[in-house]
């Protein structure tokens, strides 16, 4: 018995020590501030106006360097998205130049159609690398491909609070995270110091400033607003069926809870006969008990 108690004590102590030391040893990454998103939580939906603004920021700023190759123009008019009309989406597509072949097999450039995918700013990764030093990542799944360490015990709580917006939080923070490097920080040439980037040395220069993009809906034209809007837009690009997923999820949940409840009472009824000896042991008459 003693051995067991000592071993248990040693385990708990070791665990406590490890927990106490872990923040010091984790990789150097600042946790971005948690923002409020319309698409968070079990009933979350995208804010159409925000997605449209975010799309504008993407089109005028990000698209110069970043591709978004898995997004098609038709997606802009699909339900659960930014809510453009078919005509608006087609107009966006028509502005784009798409590489294609004509009837004779000769390469041509034609205006985009709804079925086309967003063309990339560079013909290939090498070309992008040659210009920027580092190829700017494709943004199709970016909002799900970026995160930050939540650490114990927070990741356990996240399971119950459904905190899933680490990606957009990180992207929004990163866009605002450019700073002067601390004095003892060796910034390599062509590098930029960013508070939230892992290792702080990011190749991308600060992409957004106040008043850079004109908003038509009267929203503040600030870096803060831009970064939130474009992060929300990128979340939609990465997870275009989020709204449908959460809506169906609620229906499935209601169904399953009712089903499990009914099965529980059926089980109780079926087992009532078998559990009689238990009632006898409690001095009850099983014939008179009900469930």
């Amino acid at each position: 018995m003693r051995i067991v108690k000592y071993t248990a004590f040693a385990f708990v102590l070791a665990g406590a020590v490890a927990t106490a030391f872990s923040p010091a040893m984790s990789e150097e990454q600042e946790a971005p501030p948690r923002l409020k998103w319309s698409f968070a939580g079990p009933f979350g939906t995208y804010d159409q106006a925000q997605l449209q603004r975010g799309f504008k920021v993407y089109k005028e700023v990000c698209a110069v360097c970043h591709s978004i190759s898995m997004l098609a123009f038709r997606n802009l008019a699909e339900p659960g998205g930014p809510g453009f009309t078919q005509a608006q989406a087609a107009a966006v597509a028509a502005e784009a130049k798409i590489q294609d072949l004509d009837d004779k097999g000769q390469p041509i450039e034609r205006p985009g159609r709804l079925a086309d995918y967003f063309p990339s700013p560079f013909p290939n990764e090498l070309a992008a690398k040659a210009v920027h030093g580092v190829a700017p990542p494709d943004m199709s799944t970016l909002a799900k491909a970026r995160t930050y360490q939540r650490g114990f015990p927070w990741f356990v709580f996240d399971m119950f609070t459904q905190y899933q917006e680490q990606g957009p939080d990180y992207i929004a923070a990163l866009l605002k995270g450019y700073q002067e490097p601390p004095k003892d920080f060796q910034l390599p040439p062509n590098g930029h110091y960013n508070k939230y980037f892992p290792g702080h040395n990011i190749a991308m220069p600060p992409p957004l400033q106040d008043d850079q993009v004109t908003y038509d809906d009267g929203s503040p034209q600030t870096l803060d607003q831009y970064s939130k809007d474009v992060a929300a837009f990128l979340m939609w690009v990465a997870e275009p069926h989020l709204v449908a997923r959460k809506r169906l999820g609620f229906q499935v949940m209601v169904f399953l809870i009712v089903l499990a409840g009914l099965l529980y009472f059926t089980k109780k009824k079926v087992w009532h006969q078998v559990e009689k000896p238990r009632e006898l042991a409690h001095g009850q008459d099983p014939g008179k008990t009900t469930i």
Binding site: V17, M253, I257, W271
Partner: protein
Amino acid sequence: MSGHSTYQPQSRFLQWFEKRLPLGSLIHSSFVAYPTPRNLNYLWTFGAILTFMLAVQIVTGVVLAMHYTPNVDLAFKSVEGIMRDVNFGWLLRYLHANGASMFFLAVYIHMFRGIYYGSYKEPREVLWILGVIIYLLMMATGFMGYVLVWGQMSFWAATVITNLFSAIPGVGDAIVTWLWGGYAVGNPTLNRFYSLHYLLPFVIAGVVVLHIWALHVAGQNNPTGIEPKSEKDTVAFTPYATIKDAFFMGVFCIVFAWFVFYIPNFLGHADNYIPANPAVTPSEIVPEWYYLPFYAILRSIPDKLMGVIALFASIVVLAFIPWLDTSRVRSARYRPLFRQFFWLWVIACIGLGWLGSKQPEGIYVILSRIFTVYYFAFFLIIMPLLGIFEKTKPLPNSISDSVLGAKA
């Protein structure tokens, strides 16, 4: 499978059919009249839950395979195509990805239950070993499925895990080249993983049939660990076990649906949404959560070959516990010392899981070593010795006695 069947088909067609193939009486004796101990708790519903999860994985997997392309240039894109353009493709993929996690969650509960109540002991040794084989097949299948996504974590997990075989002296490198079908993880690797990922679930289904067959020959264990002695100790499988299984399967599905619909990427790794890139190594390479304890064991040992041996030994040792455990009492309910060592072992397993996700440095390495030593000591030292030294509590006379006694 439990001997004489009382099945009497009503319709003339079924009578005709029964004379030619007694399928009805097989089903009747296995899933209707089959006697189950009356005192089974909800931990015994996980067998049914696991069967259900296997079916979910096969059904969603077969449909996903219709839309997936096993080619290094197209695999990631085709998965995203499923997420974006296939009707309810996002649902299929999230069901399949989270279904794997739920499958492992259920199998771990099932295994812990088996160890706690001594379900591996005579006469259920073969039943237990079949279970270990199913678990090994599940691990192989889950790993290869994770690779098919062909994200960064897929690619690098495949590289790390296949490289384990290079530790084998002499022929290691040749074996790894053979596994890859080339000199690095590439298209031939992806193709064969796809082929095997489609094949193995059906092998699992076959072993599951044997597992259930062996179960129905030996009969179910129960929380007291003593065999049913009279009809008073058992109830018929249907309706009693079926309704209980159905209810808890419903509860389990609520948890499953929570993950699928609300936090579908919680158990995944963000890096797997970056397409595989052999030129860029991720800052950390971690397997899926259900392999983390074994990954921690592997990394706790400085020598690569010994680490790989420990990794495989940690699973293979399970097959030997029917003989490593020398106690004649099955259930931990009547084994006060075993019960405490068991819970310590559960803590060690969870601790190893947590350590598997950490960088192998400083205090984490020391902790991994302590837990690894305890993991093996539990099977190789504690189990054999406890049978000799432990003073067990008196067993009840019968299952029905224990049901009455516990509540009186």
